[in-house]
């Protein structure tokens, strides 16, 4: 194929007009203090350009974002996890380690049959896949908003049960983070799964 080259005029071949144009364009960018549309809601800080000044400014984390997995509590402030160990089993990188309570393990409230004696998540291994949240029958573990996970040594980044519970907070908050379209209030996991199964049955 022959590429057609535009015939340049005498002036254009001097390069000078295009150099002047280049100056114009670069000047415009140099002196433009407007921020890009991405940060339109933070337009007040005119000193910055499209770069996000990270530790001071942060992305708004969208709902449904899969950050670090934490355990949640219910309204009575009790642990929801029943130590079924499904999450430990499903976790692809084996980030979760659960010590089950054994036959006569302690529970911290009445009516509960079983709860984990220890529950550790190694944040260095976790790949934020969300399988644990998906598999948990008790809606006890959720991937929340945190994405800045730093520590000074490896041990620090293995979060134990207390830490996971305190970071996770109330389950309602976790539901709200995972509001899904077509489901009114947060996750109603089994309802949705049943619905999906029905839809599929109809489809076949």
């Amino acid at each position: 194929m022959k590429v057609k080259r535009a015939k340049l005029s005498w002036l254009e071949r001097l390069y000078i007009p295009s150099i002047l144009n280049g100056f114009k364009v670069t000047m415009r960018h140099f002196f433009s203090w407007k921020r890009s549309e991405v940060y339109a809601d933070k337009q007040s800080n005119f000193a910055a350009k499209t770069t996000m000044q990270y530790p001071e400014e942060k992305w708004p984390v969208p709902t449904g974002y899969r950050g670090a997995p934490y355990l949640v509590k219910d309204v009575d402030n009790s642990t929801k996890c029943v130590s079924c160990q499904l999450c430990e089993f499903v976790c692809p990188p084996k980030a979760i380690r659960i010590t089950p309570p054994g036959r006569d393990g302690d529970v911290d409230r009445e009516g509960a049959e079983k709860m984990p004696e220890a529950f550790d998540i190694n944040m260095l291994r976790c790949i934020y896949c969300g399988f644990c949240q998906e598999v948990c029958p008790e809606e006890a573990i959720f991937l929340l908003k945190d994405y800045v996970i730093t520590g000074e040594n490896r041990e620090e980044l293995i979060y134990d049960k207390e830490k996971l519970l305190s970071l996770g907070g109330l389950d309602q908050r976790a539901y709200n983070h995972h509001v899904q379209e077509g489901v009114d209030e947060g996750i109603k996991k089994w309802e949705k799964k049943t619905q999906d199964a029905k839809n599929q049955a109809e489809f076949h």
């Binding site: 670069t26 960018h29 350009k49 499209t50 770069t51």
Partner: protein, 376 residues
């Protein structure tokens, strides 16, 4: 000044030279460091980014708009592993960074960066063949790059080295030709008679090719600056300086997009930093040459105080600052252009060098000669 220092300096004139060398070095090195910062900041602003704005005074929270960046950069290159790949030709590989950096610093030896300070002329070596010396030294710079390309023993540096040799040779000719008219004007013995007695004393014993003499020629008024008298020569010289210092749009030896990093691909750590410093020192030297040859050197056309050799210390320092300021303007231009123009294709580069600049600069010489002859 205490007696013994005066005595020491009169008995050992080399001490004065050593002090001047140290002084120039102490000014040029920070300029190199800060032109890197300026480069990064200006490029960032042109590209709607922010650039390095974090590093300030170490161990404090004071950021100073990122002016501490050279410290961090330097520390980083010192701490990097100095890796020598197994396949390089060692001796040349070790020599190349030094060979590419030293010439750019040697150029400063003949540049008159100020008028007088105390009883001393502010030029390290007041050579009568200043400009010839500069051209000789500047053309040595290419050896560093060619050596780096050759010694690395791999394809990208090799291509970079080859490109650089061809490019430098072609642009050096245009550059040399372009300054001939400058000296045709400045080396006319007649104009020196009109100078003030200060100037006459200052130029005592210097030849007509001396760079201070070129400065004196331009000291009269704004329109005696050779940038106005010889615009074509200036244009060609400016562009050749871009090509000589491997700056965009002529950075073919490096051209990251096609040659990884060109001639310095195999270098790391301080060796790489030396190439980098060499490039920026060459930019400063080139800007200094442009200031001396075309923009009136350390003079400003604002009356006696600015355009005659200094009598006092303050005046001398102001002259030096004027010179540095003018250099900064050119550095800004060079940095700006880098983020503005795309790289030339190799054949276009050669085409411009040989088919445009060479004939135009020759024509300019002849034109100047005709004008001078007609005026005489």
């Amino acid at each position: 000044m205490p007696e013994f220092i005066t005595e020491l300096l009169t008995n050992h004139p080399w001490l004065i030279v050593a002090i001047k060398v140290l002084g120039v070095f102490a000014v040029v090195m920070p300029m190199v460091a800060y032109s890197v910062v300026a480069e990064r900041r200006i490029s960032a602003f042109i590209q709607d980014r922010v650039g390095p704005n974090r590093v300030g005074i170490p161990f404090t929270n004071i950021k100073l708009l990122g002016l501490g960046q050279p410290l961090a950069d330097g520390l980083k290159s010192f701490l990097k592993e100095d890796f020598t790949p197994g396949h390089v030709k060692r001796i040349y590989y070790w020599m190349a960074p030094a060979v590419s950096m030293t010439p750019s610093f040697i150029v400063f030896a003949v540049i008159p960066f100020g008028s007088m300070l105390g009883m001393q002329k502010m030029v390290i070596a007041d050579l009568n063949v200043g400009i010839l010396f500069t051209f000789g030294i500047v053309s040595l710079g290419v050896y560093g790059i060619v050596l780096a390309g050759y010694s690395a023993n791999s394809k990208y540096p090799f291509l970079g080295g080859i490109r650089s040799s061809a490019q430098m040779i072609s642009y050096e000719i245009a550059m040399g030709m372009s300054v001939v008219p400058v000296f045709m004007l400045a080396a006319d013995p007649a104009w020196r008679d009109g100078l003030t007695s200060d100037w006459k004393a200052y130029l005592e014993g210097t030849g007509l090719l001396n760079l201070s003499s070129v400065v004196a020629y331009q000291s009269d008024s704004l329109f005696s600056w050779l940038i106005f008298k010889q615009p074509i020569a200036f244009w060609i010289f400016l562009i050749s300086i871009f090509a000589e210092t491997n700056r965009l749009p002529f950075d073919l030896p490096e051209s990251e997009t096609e040659l990884v990093s060109g001639y310095n691909t195999e270098y790391s750590s301080m060796r790489f930093a030396l190439f980098f410093m060499g490039e920026y020192a060459a930019m400063i030297a080139g800007s200094a040459l442009m200031v001396v040859l075309f923009c009136g050197g350390w003079t400003l056309p604002f009356g006696e105080y600015f355009n005659t050799p200094a009598q006092g210390l303050v005046q001398g320092i102001i002259h030096i600052l004027v010179f540095i300021g003018k250099i900064a303007v050119f550095l800004g231009l060079m940095i700006w252009v880098r983020w503005m123009l795309p790289r030339f294709r190799y054949d276009q580069l050669m085409n411009i060098g040989w088919k445009r600049f060479l004939p135009v600069s020759l024509a300019n010489i002849i034109l100047t000669a005709i004008v001078l002859w007609a005026a005489a």
